[in-house]
Amino acid sequence: MIDNKQQKELKRQLDSELSHFSFTKQGGVLSKTHPKTWSEKVNNWWNKEITIPLLPVGAITVLLLLTAGMILFSNDGGQQVELIERGGNIYWSDMYERKVGANES
């Protein structure tokens, strides 16, 4: 056990050793650990670190991307329907291809 006297001695010694340093951020530390004002609270919340589990978030993202991709590429878009000549007749390319498809199956 360190008695009171010894404690005082140690304190004196520590003070003299730390006399070259000074700690000025007590306020900052206090406001962070024990926020009192509104802005302190907001700032605290603003810098709060949260943990996001990668698996569920990643899964949802991939799912969303896949759905978008499926919608996008489910049909061969962008191809223009135009007049085509087949066997001496002139058809619209879409109608012709549908009719050919219907006859093939």
Binding site: I52, V81, R86, G87, W92
Partner: protein, 738 residues
């Protein structure tokens, strides 16, 4: 693993999370303004591609009604760029608009308010010119030319005179106005524009010179017209000279001549060729469907015959629009040879055909009124074979729906392969609604040979060589209906653009035979190896007929026709079909082996069931060369009405003249049966006859007598002795006829 994945977490500060969300929101905003329209655009394209035109239309209209910044992009991409400049299709006796035309989402009528909006409000770009052209054509078709003029005026005002569009639109306005206004009014417009003309833009100078020239010519002021044309040409020549001088020192500059410059020069040549004080003609008629329904607002164009082998997009000097009862009238037509072309919308031509001869030409000589009625007939619907059916029988039976008033029908066949088709008409003729053709006849039938390019190297298309022998081939057929005079009434091929008019697809496969080993080698492209295999087969009498057929085709393709002769003779003996025999007849006709010609011709006549005008004509030429002139003339006269090109008219005139000496009759024949040939300049027999009629008749008769002996040296000596230019030209033209 599962656990480790479950443990994978990221630590993130709330401020970073919020910033991420904010950037997402900003992104969404940008998306809505810039990306969403593109996305919608893409969806519209997709709907169109999937044939969902009503879906595309709803989507387009909702985007147009959103009134967002991108509205004009939608108008540009889905209305302006796909709208026709004038008509959906152009058809004439010798050609029609073919493939490549995009399907439209809105009809032009529906598009009118959007196009007008675009012209007034959209950023000033070249699409305003496009939009204006579409609108002008729309109003013109509906007889509302004033509104068309207002459109052009509004469009001009969107630009300043530094823009090429400004001058393009002014030129257009003046050209349009010239088509329906008096000369004075057009001149007023020209004066107004000329104040703003700019040397940087030369095309308007040429276009306006042409408008002036045409208007003056139509008034009969030919000298003034030529003056205007010359002024335009001279102005352009000087300008081009200057440009060339400016640039030649610095760059390797080559100035291309304007298309309008060529048109101007061409028109000048045309005008110069007209005799003084020419009387002008009128062409008029009525355009109806066979059920009597008039075709309204159809563009009717007169097109110079010499241009008939070029595609046509309404660039005519003479044009009009049919009125409410389908009637039309084009006046002030200068003498010349013309073909009538029509500009139609899809619904007017869908399922119908204008059955006319490719050589349907109007010859105008002076003041006259030419009646030219046009009747559209429904397309013939084919029944079978259709829809890519596979035929394994020994004959193919073609059936179709009956055509009232048809006297007989002719079948045409097509061979289709990657990147090409060849059509040809074997001699398949019938009076019934169906005809059975043995596959052997199809196998005998040769099509033209095509080549394909791959890595800049040309390959023989073996599919065209095999034709109907190719078991993997795709073939098509068409049927033409003709009346008792041989005039085309209707046909099965034409525009089939709706479910109702599409009918059955006229395609079939032929798998009666199996490919031989040599065929497979040929199909792989090893022509030399296949050639040797066929040759070996012939020597060993394996697959003899087939190998003979193939080796003849290969020899002909490789320009070794003389090598093919022994095989052709062998095939003629072993397999005397009309096709084989006619090949022999044609061979000896070309080579002039008359004895052999006659021998094979007689054999051909024995087995051929149908008359072939072509073969008869060859026989007539043969008779003529043999000095049997009267018989030759009789055959020629029998076939002359079936040849719309009047290919043998020169011979007929010479024979008629020599045998009958009836100059009036000969001149009449020459007038009524002018020789036609697109692209080549056939002799003007009427003029040749008129020129020799001025000579002493004995000189002409003796010249012809020399010609008919077939002794060319004697004929040449006679022509030299008499030294009559007209006679020399006439005899030379006969000698060059084939």
């Amino acid at each position: 693993m599962k656990e480790r994945l479950g443990l994978m977490k990221v630590n993130i500060k709330i401020k970073h999370l919020i910033m991420t969300v904010i950037s997402l929101v900003v992104f969404l905003l940008v998306f809505n303004i810039y990306i969403y329209p593109k996305w919608e655009n893409w969806l519209i394209d997709r709907d169109v591609a999937n044939g969902n035109m009503s879906g595309a239309k709803d989507r387009l209209l909702s985007n147009l009604d959103r009134n967002s910044n991108s509205k004009y992009d939608f108008i540009r991409d889905h209305i302006i760029t796909t709208a026709p400049e004038m008509y959906d299709v152009y058809i004439g006796p010798s050609s029609q608009t073919g493939s490549g035309y995009p399907k439209q989402i809105l009809t032009l009528k529906e598009a009118v308010p959007y196009l007008q909006d675009y012209i007034q409000e959209a950023p000033a770009d070249e699409y305003i010119v496009w939009a204006a052209k579409s609108l002008v054509s729309y109003f013109k078709r509906n007889g509302n030319r004033d509104e068309g003029d207002q459109v052009l005026e509004a469009a001009v005002n969107r630009f300043t005179q530094d823009n090429s569009q400004y001058h393009e639109l002014w030129s257009l306005r003046i050209e349009e106005s010239a088509a329906w206004h008096e000369f004075e009014e057009v001149e007023e417009l020209i004066t107004k524009y000329e104040r703003h003309m700019d040397e940087t833009f030369m095309d308007p100078v040429l276009r306006i010179a042409k408008v002036k020239g045409e208007m003056l010519a139509k008034q009969g002021r030919k000298e003034d017209a030529l003056n205007e044309l010359d002024k335009g040409i001279e102005y352009y020549d000087n300008w081009l000279e200057e440009i060339k001088e400016q640039f030649s020192e610095t760059d390797n500059f080559e100035a291309g001549e304007s298309h309008y410059y060529h048109e101007l020069r061409e028109y000048r040549t045309f005008l110069l060729a007209q005799s003084e004080n020419t009387d002008l003609a009128t062409v008029e008629g009525q355009l109806v469907k066979s059920n009597g329904e008039p075709l309204v607002n159809v563009g009717v164009f007169l097109r110079n015959e010499s241009k008939s082998n070029h595609s046509f997009y309404g660039d005519g000097r003479y044009e009009t629009v049919t009125s409410h009862d389908g009637s039309f009238r084009i006046s002030n037509v200068l003498p010349g040879s013309y073909q009538v072309y029509l500009g139609l919308m899809f619904d007017q031509v869908d399922g119908y055909v204008w059955a006319t001869d490719p050589y349907d030409i109007i010859d105008i000589e002076g003041e006259e009124v030419v009646e030219y009625p046009i009747e559209f007939q429904p397309l013939i619907n084919i029944v079978s074979p259709s829809n890519y059916v596979v035929i394994k029988d020994e004959e193919v039976t073609f059936t179709w729906e009956e055509v009232p008033n048809a006297d007989y029908y002719v079948i045409q066949l097509g061979v289709h392969f990657d990147g090409g088709s060849i059509y040809s008409s074997p001699n398949i003729v019938t009076k019934d609604q169906e005809v059975s053709v043995p596959v052997e006849i199809l196998y005998d039938h040769t099509m033209g040979i095509t080549h394909k390019e791959n890595w800049d190297k040309e390959y023989l298309d073996t599919e065209s060589l095999l034709a109907f022998l190719n078991v993997e081939g795709t073939f098509s057929w068409q049927v033409h209906a003709l009346d008792e005079t041989g005039k085309l009434i209707s046909k099965s091929n034409g525009y089939r653009l709706t479910e109702d008019t599409m009918s059955e697809l006229p395609f079939f496969h032929l798998q009666e035979r199996t490919m031989t080993e040599a065929d497979l080698v040929l199909q792989d492209g090893d022509i030399e190896k296949a050639y040797n295999m066929y040759k070996e087969n012939i020597e060993n009498e394996i697959e003899l007929i087939h190998s003979l057929r193939m080796i003849i085709r290969l020899d002909n393709t490789l320009d070794k026709e003389s090598d093919a002769l022994p095989y052709l003779l062998m095939l003629g003996e072993k397999h005397p079909t009309p096709s084989t025999l006619s090949s022999l007849v044609r061979y000896y006709f070309r080579e002039g082996g008359w004895q052999e010609f006659e021998k094979w011709f007689i054999k051909y006549e024995e087995i051929s069931e149908d008359d072939s005008t072509y073969m008869d004509s060859l026989y007539a030429v043969f008779k003529m060369k043999q000095g049997e002139l009267e018989e030759a003339l009789a055959i020629f006269k029998k076939t002359m009405d079936e040849y719309s090109s009047n290919h043998y008219i020169g011979y007929i005139l010479a024979l008629e003249l020599y045998l009958e000496e009836d100059w009036g009759r000969v001149e009449e024949l020459a007038r009524n049966y002018p020789e036609r040939s697109f692209g080549n300049n056939p002799p003007n027999w009427l003029r040749l006859i008129q020129n020799i009629s001025d000579l002493e008749h004995e000189i002409v008769m003796e010249g012809l007598s020399n010609y008919f002996t077939g002794d060319e040296e004697k004929t040449d000596a006679y022509l030299e002795e008499k030294d009559e230019n007209a006679l020399t030209i006439f005899i030379r033209a006969l000698q060059q006829s084939r």
